[in-house]
Symmetry: C2
Subunit: 456 residues, 2 copies
């Protein structure tokens, strides 16, 4: 029986990153990745397969990352984990021993048990090349596309499918606005405007009741009673942790049904770690269970798990949730709690907003408006969340905001933060949005709370 | 005699920001800005007047910022500060009382006392419209331009003057590389390559000894003995604090000859504050005197001074130094200490570097390489500095790095930092440069120091 110091199950964002991290932290260890897929898709790139990229082969994680880091890999399916023997068994008939095991089995899309949901033409977004190529072929022949769910997968797919030509595209969303769990309403409305300008119809506050047709789906019935003609339906309503292997091995699961882990990413079996979509998470803000599933969280957890395999080096402080997307040529980015989300968690808040062109003077050319909204706890003025929309530089600005959230920076810390600015790259140091939004939140806080008395 | 709660001397980055900050923090106070200039230039935009923008009128700070914040202003020159009476007197014959005074008189360019330095055709970059328009007219007729000093003003001016057409452009720099005080040598060399590709000649390790000609400069004599033909010479060798008013008023100055201030930006006279280029500074890293002069430092200090006028609300932790520029289509950004700078301050260091395209997959289009270098103290692995070059998104990424430096984040903090990533905006969460550079620094640190023993 072959034996490795470290065995990782799964070769996507979490598994690959855990393997690389263990290599970096424990250079002398033998590391093996076992994955089902011959080729691994970049998860965040999947919507772009259908338009910008043109196909799955353009959206692969190269195996060179494994080679370069001297990590072995095996394409096979793990069918059993045996914690007492410290081995895994595979569909290919192998038994492989481990000192430390990392479970990074990811998630599978949720499919609601609606009448007719098994009809041909209805697709979930699985990270599976054959499945996605079938969907791609179906889209090429389709006239009517319905996307269920107006989260990130929904909006990104809608825009990419618009590039396929004269297709009727509708999105159905139960909530009142698209991307409502990530953005406050004014940002969501801006995103909806960008989509509608591309002739994508958005039906919010609306629910699917069932699917009609013969073998193939022909119509979707909505709760409002309306029937929509469809050739292809894409379900984009979320994902659930893939935990079957872990559960069969007797590992505990948590309140959101992920594999239960401690702050060091250890499961209930001390030699076994879990990370990524399959692992249970808690919120950074209050320690309560969180159902967030993001590639950037997966890699963060993988960097903790990988570093802790032979000694506790890092602890997981909980998930913040940092998101970016681009719709049309407008970036939409968010980190931490929205206004609504912060209130739901019981925080009194104060908000500051600042908007400016990301050049100075504006006549420099190439500039675009960039708006920053920051949400602070009202008493301590600790940063709880931020949202940015506009120019593409938002994609990095949100990471400055994420750093500020991680470090529990206050509005004063951010307002006196030294920033690099340049006429051709950012707003001026006077108008710099991040700093000004913090200043404006402080100004707003004077008006706000009885806990604060204006200094004489 | 008219009296104001707050009088600010100077209407540029520091003065304007101090005025706006005092308005935000003390909404009931009467605020006056007194400035010499009828129109105020955006300081960072000055090099771009000569090419991209086409003229000074395209590079003004609009007075709407004052109006919108209900700040009064007076175009006049302050000629005396009278701390005992709490008044200032002006060239226009006014005496104006203040409760609190903010001195934001900025800096003036250094001009070395070289033989012939007074000849016509030799210009320093003063923040003065008439002076810059005269330079612009001289450049329009010039065939040979020599820039003395290869810092930011030098390299940005050289590139902008290249847009004027078939002009011979040379830069003379005493140090071995351009931008050597801000970047490590590999970044400086990359910047030099970008400039040389535009047919800008860079003479490093070379010194000007004097200027030859009649009334107008005709030749520049170098220390190496070489004479260069010139029509126009621009001096870009740094600036010194404008302190005459403060010195005449009996205020103390500091070791770099700025107006001495405490951590609250108060001068030796308790009702008088100073901020920006005219104020003395200390380093964030060791508290020692720092001669850095940057608009982003000026606005930071102004936000501290403005908030402290009627009560100590914020303290200045010292200057970090965050820089951005773009040469060709390559951004060059830096924050904190370079490798060399950190060693000069006595730190043992460990370095990590990561480079990747700022899209994922690379085939998304619109992507460009983005390289991050991070410099950590070797024992604690606290971040001391970072440099970024490549795509324009570097302009915001450097501010994420600045936040990490401010908060004294360690390599582990940064490596497990949750980042927003998106195919159309950034590298993948697996390859994200900031996080990977931190991981690589940790991997490098195992090899490094006897203080660290590899855990078993």
């Amino acid at each position: 029986m072959e034996k490795f110091d470290v065995v990782v199950i799964g070769g996507s964002a979490a598994g690959l990153t855990a393997a690389i991290t263990s290599r970096r932290h424990y250079p002398e260890k033998k590391v093996l990745v076992i994955r089902k897929e011959d080729q691994v898709l970049i998860p965040c790139g999947i919507p772009y397969i259908f338009g910008t990229l043109g196909g799955c082969q353009m959206n692969l994680i190269p195996d060179s990352a494994l080679e370069k880091n001297k990590i072995e890999w095996l394409v096979d399916e793990v069918t059993g984990i045996h914690p007492e023997k410290q081995t895994v068994t595979t569909a290919g008939g192998k038994e492989i021993g481990y000192e430390r095991l990392v479970i990074a089995t990811g998630s599978v899309p949720m499919v609601p048990p609606l009448p007719g949901v098994d009809k041909k033409g209805i697709y979930a977004i699985k990270k599976d090349i054959a499945h996605l190529e079938e969907l791609q072929a179906a889209l090429a022949k389709a006239s009517h596309l319905l996307i269920v769910g107006c989260g990130f997968i929904g909006v990104e797919l809608a825009e990419e499918c618009r590039k396929l030509g004269d297709l009727d595209i509708k999105i159905v969303e139960m909530l009142r606005h698209c991307l409502q769990l990530t953005y406050d309403v004014e940002f969501s409305v801006k995103a909806e405007d960008v989509l509608r300008a591309q002739n994508i119809e958005i039906l919010t506050g609306e629910k699917v009741e069932g699917f009609l047709g013969g073998k193939a789906v022909e119509k979707v019935r909505l709760a409002s009673g309306r029937d929509l003609d469809v050739d292809v339906v894409i379900m984009g309503i979320g994902a659930r942790a893939s935990t079957a292997l872990a559960v069969d091995a007797g590992l505990e699961t948590g309140p959101t049904r992920g594999i239960q882990v401690n702050r060091y990413m250890q499961t209930s079996a001390p030699h076994i770690f879990a990370c990524g979509d399959c692992a249970e998470k808690v919120s950074f803000f209050d320690g309560k269970p969180s159902a967030l599933k993001l590639a950037s969280i997966a890699t963060m957890e993988a960097r903790i798990a990988g570093s802790n395999l032979f000694g506790a080096r890092r602890a997981n402080m909980g998930v913040i949730g940092v998101y970016s997307t681009i719709l049309g040529d407008t970036a939409f980015c968010a980190a931490g709690l929205t206004e609504t989300g912060a209130k739901d968690k019981g925080f009194d808040i104060v908000v500051g907003e600042a908007e400016a062109v990301n050049r100075h003077p504006g006549s420099m050319g190439g500039g675009k408006l960039l708006k920053v909204k920051l949400i602070f706890e009202a008493g301590t003025r600790v940063l709880l969340g931020g949202q940015v929309s506009g120019a593409k530089s938002a994609g990095e600005l949100i990471n400055a905001i994420s750093a500020c959230i991680h470090q529990r920076m206050t509005a004063d810390d951010i307002a006196t933060f030294q920033t690099g600015t340049h006429p051709g790259l950012t707003a001026s140091p006077i108008a710099y949005q991040l700093v000004n939004a913090a200043e404006i939140a402080i100004a707003n806080s004077w008006k706000l709370s009885s806990r604060w008395k204006r200094p004489a």
